[in-house]
């Protein structure tokens, strides 16, 4: 067993919120350990003035002092988890600024999260897994070329994707709706193998990602089962040909979204989530269904429409569908509704996630929703930057997994 990854817990009192056990449990399952950065109590005296953020809560001052201890190397850690209570405005300000401060002043991976007493270890797992991966496997993430013959499988919440890669080229693809996790993965892989004209035993290594990564990883004896943050970042910059320098990856998935700030192919700051599926591909699927078009046709329809003609807010998927139904009942044009739905999803990502990371160009949009032409158009219009949708953008996780797992062939 490798040494435990030390993750600094910088929080305003998660011990009092009933979530500490879940935090510890998520870390433990990844062979990581949460530690409190040590600092002298006198560091609290002037920290708000030093940091430039005057707050009322002593625990928030403690967060700033602990962040300083991490940056100055007084606390020897491999990554940082910044956490505060959900719904606390003062803490939200400190959480964002502390995270930015650590990210900009140390080479450490850092993530933040706002918790309620209902936060479960499973919710935290993907985020913390990304944190430990960046700390533990930087060498793996540095891989820029796929070698040998590998398969990547992405078991997502809505669809399961598979690719076969040989010597840095995609030679087979599979894409099926996720119904039963293992069966769907089998079908997707078979599609990809058929297209490549290969048999399962020809594959030298398999990498898995997505919600079902552990289950299908066990089933296929995968060499790598890895969360989506690092895998998708890698896949995105690889397919976009932007492996060097900075980039921002936005992945609009079927159930949640990721916004990731990437440097040389390695994720730095990232956010994952969305309050509701209203900010995800699921909302677009429901919109297509209500408009009576296939999801593949929604994008072309949206491009013809004007979003401002329809008032729609998909902060919550239920209210979003209500707006959709109301606008159609008032006689709105389907293309305007489609455009408004795309705009609303992008607006949720902008409001909920992009505020927390610095958007650096190129902005790479991936995930199934990136193929809906109205989505990149809405994103460009909102952010006023060029949005890059790489080829095979819907297969990003599978490509990332196939690329990364090829590192294991070399090791063998």
């Amino acid at each position: 067993m490798k040494d435990k990854v030390k993750i600094a817990l910088v929080s305003c009192g998660s011990e009092f919120a009933g979530v500490q056990k879940e935090l510890e449990s998520a870390a433990e399952s990844l062979n990581a350990k949460l530690v409190y950065p040590e600092m002298d109590i006198s560091a609290l005296d002037n920290i708000d003035k030093e940091f430039g953020l005057e707050v009322a809560s002593p625990d928030l001052k403690l967060m700033m002092a602990r962040a300083k201890a991490v940056v100055e190397g007084i606390a020897n850690v491999d990554g940082v988890f910044v956490a505060t209570c959900f719904r606390c405005a003062e803490a939200a300000i400190v959480r964002n600024e502390v995270r930015r401060y650590i990210f900009e002043n140390s080479g450490l991976p850092v993530i933040s999260y706002s918790f309620t007493e209902r936060t479960a270890a499973a919710t935290l797992l993907t985020r913390m897994e990304a944190l430990t991966t960046i700390a533990r496997r930087k060498h793996l993430l540095a891989r820029e070329k796929q070698t040998g013959l590998t398969a990547g499988l992405d078991s997502g919440s809505t669809t399961t994707k598979a690719v076969i890669m040989r010597d840095n080229e995609i030679i087979g693809e599979g894409w099926v709706p996720t119904i039963k996790v293992i069966e769907s993965a089998e079908k997707a892989l078979q599609q990809a193998l058929d297209q490549a004209g290969l048999k399962r035993e020809d594959i030298q290594a398999i990498g898995t990602t997505g919600y079902g990564r552990f289950l299908i990883g066990d089933h296929f004896n995968a060499q790598l089962a890895q969360e989506e943050i690092t895998v998708n970042s890698k896949g995105a910059v690889y397919l976009a040909g932007k492996q060097k320098g900075s980039a921002t990856v936005i992945d609009i998935g079927g159930m949640d979204n990721k916004a990731i700030s990437v440097q040389d192919g390695i994720p730095g700051m990232f956010t994952m989530g969305g309050i509701c599926a209203g900010a995800s591909g699921r909302f677009l699927e429901m919109t297509a269904k209500r408009l009576g078009v296939d999801i593949t046709e929604l994008g072309d329809l949206a491009v013809k429409g004007i979003d401002k003609n329809v008032e729609m807010n998909s902060y919550c998927i239920v209210f979003g569908i209500q707006s959709l139904v109301n606008s159609l009942a008032k006689g709105a044009a389907p293309e305007d509704v489609a455009a408004a739905a795309c705009h609303s999803v992008v607006e949720q990502i902008f409001e909920q996630q992009l505020q927390e990371i610095e958007v650096k160009e190129p902005l790479i949009l991936v995930g199934g929703s990136s193929l809906i032409a109205g989505v990149p158009k809405a994103l460009e219009s909102l952010l006023k930057v060029k949005v890059l949708v790489p080829p095979h953008s819907q297969l990003i996780g599978a490509v990332g997994a196939a690329l990364l797992v090829s590192g294991y062939i070399d090791q063998e």
């Binding site: 011990e15 009933g18 056990k21 002593p58 209570c85 003062e90």
Partner: protein, 151 residues
Amino acid sequence: MAKVFIYPTNSLILSDLVERFGHTPLAMMEKIHEKISTVGVDSPPMNITPEDPKRGLKYAAVEVPAGVRGRMSLIGPMIENAEAAIIVLESIAAFGCMGCARTNELTKFLIRQRDIPILELIYPRTEEEGHDFVYRIAEFLKSLPEGEVEA
């Protein structure tokens, strides 16, 4: 002997003063001790589980952060049981430090709503103020009726 709520709730000095004058301090240390000694609960370091913020709903609504409600699940019952209170304002962290400003505001508000003797004073900054500080606390504690509340 009176049950005296102290603020900051984890001030060792205040707790000690209350005890020296024959009263029972209602302090966070006791509550945490109870928590960590509870057999069968394994949620270190404080043993506060997701059930505690739910208990805190008695004192703060669901839109109030979990950390506030978790703290209130410990502090709230002490406020209810208090027969007197000493509130020290503007104290330094070493005197006693409560981490969350929102919890502190609610705590002071709720104790002030109780119809009980309350002494509020500012933390001393000079030696002279220090003497006066201890004197006023001593007088307050001496003024509390002995045994009256035990009945």
